[in-house]
């Protein structure tokens, strides 16, 4: 196995790890507040029932963060394995 092949495999493994972590976060934020909405709504934070807030706004903010983090981390991974191209 050549050096490039090893580098590419390591690159792909790092990508997969990041993707798995972020997908887990996505799944949690997407479905847990919906499932436990009743329980979460008993907590009120700054006037918001937390269950309602999560579905209406909280989850959306986390989605934005996930996509932003993914771009940042992927750029970093590409640099680490020497695959980054300036565009």
């Amino acid at each position: 196995m050549s050096d490039t092949d090893a580098r590419r495999q390591a690159y792909w493994r790092a990508t997969m790890r990041l993707t798995a972590v972020l997908l887990l976060l996505w799944g949690g934020v997407s479905f847990l507040p919906g499932w436990f909405a009743e329980e979460m709504n008993t907590i009120v934070f700054l006037g918001w029932p937390v269950g309602f807030y999560m579905a209406a706004q909280g989850a959306l903010i986390v989605f934005l963060l996930i996509v932003w983090l993914y771009d940042r981390w992927m750029t970093r991974i590409e640099r680490r394995y020497g695959m980054y191209n300036e565009d």
Binding site: G34, A37, G51, F52, Y70, M74, N85
Partner: protein, 682 residues
Amino acid sequence: MSTTPALFRRLGRYYAFYVVGFIGLVGLLAVAEQFGLSARWIGQIFLFATIAIYASIGVMSRTSDVSEYYVAGRRVPALFNGMATAADWMSAASFIGLAGTLYYSGFEGLAFVTGWTGGYVLVALLLAPFLRKFGQFTIPDFLGARYEGHFARMVGVFAAVLASFVYVVAQIYGVGLITSRFIGVEFEIGVFVGLAGILVCSFLGGMRAVTWTQVAQYLILIIAYLVPVTILSYKVTGVPLPQVMYGKVLQDLGVKELELFSEPRENEVRAQYRYRAEEYARKISDLPDSLVAERMGQVQRVTELRTQGAPARDISAAERTLRDLPRTPDEARLKWERVRQDSLARTVHPAPHAQPHPGVDQAGRNSARNNFIALTFVLMVGTAALPHILVRYYTTPSVSSARRSVFWSLFFIFLLYVTAPAYAVFAKWEVYSNLVGSNIGTLPHWVTSWGRVGLVKVEDINGDGILQLAELTLNSDVILLLVPEIAGLPYVVSGLVAAGGLAAALSTADGLLLTISHSLSHDLYYKMINPQASTQRRLVITKSQLLVVAVVAAWVASLRPDSILLMVGLAFSIAASAFFPALVLGIFWRRANKWGAIAGMIAGLGITLYYIMRTHPFFGGNMGDAWFDIHPISSGVFGVPVGFIVITIVSLLTPPPSAEVQALVDYVRLPDRIGNVHEAAK
């Protein structure tokens, strides 16, 4: 061709001028309104001015280059591609309907808010960068290359056209509604104005023209969405940040709801509706005798009024009632059943706005919860599988800009979706606290003006002269337009909102139309029927397909099909179960092969369609046959896992894909300009 940063600066300058110009136009109209310009004129100026803007962008961006026509030359900067995707994504339903859905469904409606945004996480993590690296023209292109041959491409074309066509009909239908209701032209004329608006953008310039008009349309639609509710928030709470402030209003609304639901007169009205429902149930079971009795009674009433010498107005009203009586027992059964259902719905209080998963008993609550989760899932996966969204990521200059572009798309979409619940809460607060309980003789003027077009209905069933909540009917499209009225804003703001709705419908229709015509001309004609076709001929075919599809879609829309909203809801399940498993496994699982993909796409799509037929009354099914009580709109919740399982099993039972395809998988996984072996071979 200019370099990317220079292009970016130039575009930024153009669109800044454009926004300033547009705000100037709105200001000018506002001044003109003070000097007596009528609402009708304001509406029409908005309609024609915005379409003229889109048309000039469309004409300026005309092109006869294949790469420009299909993927805008692959040099759309991430930020602008984000805006174009956002306009492409947000349809007439998001812009006009979502606020109304949230008003009526409260918490349950939030499945749309999380679902339609969370899908972009899947686009970013699982699809966009890899499709960009693959870098061809359509989604069936990927299926054809990855799954070796025409069969997978064919299934892709079928599902893309099926999902996109119903969606494009709904957009043109939406244009007809907006123009007829808010600008005052006839529905059919509105449909053809819409058709013209769509064609001037897409016909001459394809993706390139559509991209730049979509950016322009996004700017109008987001201004139109944010302005009214921001002003209202300032008036109600003193802070012009509706997204932050509606939490407080929601809390007050919760108190108001409890108060209203225990009000004696409110309960009296609900009891009267129960009597009415029972009365109609009796009338329906006594058919056909009850219809005869009804007619005789009404004839007698007319004669009585005549002999008494009653005022002409009363007589003609009685005559009209007589004329409007159902003609046949079958017609009566349908009509009366509708009245019975409507009255029955008014006998119970709506659920409190913030209450999740309402139901009469524990089983009902569980079912509501399961459906909420299933709908969220289907909307997310469907978002990540709609071809007209995915092709937008072919247009960015590089893999990393495709990633960044998803972030911008989600950001621009977020601005609207995070505001929609605020619209619902502010409108509900106003209706519950000010409108309900007021004197029916002195209701605000919009109640009468929208009452005339059937969007608002008031019936004083208990005759006390006071409006109770159960006596009021608001069409869900009205909620969005209610806000400028409540805030006491001049008509120019309502015209602006109509222009925003129009921009949302047109931009989505453009994107869908391109997807359909490209699937037919590029995938079906060029790749399968005539691979020797010259560039010239391919473009001619594409443009003629575009024309044909647009005219057919406008024709279908002008027939006003009842089922169109239902079909749009189903498009998500269809796209999700046909595309998502095959696309994702195609990138992440090297071993997935042709046979697996074909079997999986057909099985997933098949299960979804079967479940819809089995449970939806429109196709003769009923909910009694449902699995786990899941509604047909979420049928993809069965189709998607079946697709994944079948692809996996069938792939493992058949030989692995060729070395060439495995090299393609490696190629798409690596970022820009790496693994160029395949690039050279293309």
